[in-house]
């Protein structure tokens, strides 16, 4: 599940529940659709309510990072729970400077 909000040129997507290969496909479509029509300066992915994530979440973040570059904007990832942070740390995503 996902809720989106658009304010001050920032599109925020609040992710919720379990993020795996199955749900990542649907979430990706929702976010990309909103980003293409709203053209935000920043896309913010809020992970506060994500209870489970496998490496599909890393794919989702990397894909949105590329997507926002193409649209001339940037990506931020916020409120990552500790249990999930470990996978992000493994992925090298920290080097992109989008986390927290």
């Amino acid at each position: 599940m996902i809720k989106t909000e658009f304010e001050n040129n920032i599109l925020t997507a609040y992710l919720e529940g379990e993020l795996d290969h199955d749900s990542a496909c649907r979430i990706r479509q929702r976010i990309d659709c909103a980003a293409r029509s709203l053209r935000p300066k920043t896309l913010c992915l809020n992970f506060e309510k994500v209870s489970f994530m496998d490496s599909s979440g890393v794919g989702l973040v990397m894909g949105r990072y590329r997507q926002m570059k193409l649209l001339g904007g940037s990506l931020k990832v916020t409120c990552v729970p500790d249990s999930i942070y470990r996978i992000f740390a493994m992925s090298g995503l920290e080097a992109l400077g989008v986390l927290r």
Binding site: D20, R28, S55, G59, I87, M90
Partner: protein, 144 residues
């Protein structure tokens, strides 16, 4: 060492079954009194292995995924996740972090790296054209 409990599952290779598979394995080990971290690690590793069967083993075609889990006297859990899909030509290459055969799908190429990091041991056996078996081994309650 004696096996004290075991279970078998088989289900179609549909992505909506990823959540079912990891919850089922997690429920199976409940009686071992795992910590939340152990459960989370196990669910994540199972999720990666099952996703690999769907995306790579069966290449999104329909197939069956088989899980066999067993627990030994010392609380060591073994989970075998098997598909009868295309198999892996070069296992060491497939296990390299960031290597993926489906870049268009936004796969991060981290599946095996996550399994290895979240389990005590990971074994992969595969035969091209016959399928792949991933064995995850994790001691439950090792830290407590």
């Amino acid at each position: 060492m004696k096996t004290v409990n075991q279970m078998r599952l088989s289900f179609p290779s549909k992505s909506r079954n990823e959540a079912f598979a990891r919850s089922a394995v997690s429920s199976f080990v409940t009686s071992l009194d795992p910590t939340l971290n152990e459960l989370n690690d196990l669910k994540t590793a199972v999720s990666e292995a099952v996703t690999n069967c769907i995306v790579h083993g069966y290449r999104r075609q329909s197939g069956t995924i088989y899980i066999y889990a067993s627990v030994k006297e010392d609380n060591t859990l073994t989970v075998k996740i098997r598909d009868k899909g295309v198999g892996i030509e070069d296992i060491s290459k497939a296990m390299e972090p960031l290597f993926t055969t489906s870049p268009g799908e936004e796969r991060a190429g981290l599946g095996f790296a996550v399994m290895q990091s979240f389990c005590d041991r990971v074994k992969v056996s595969s035969q091209v054209g016959r399928g792949t078996t991933v064995t995850l081994i994790k001691r439950i309650g090792a830290n407590g």
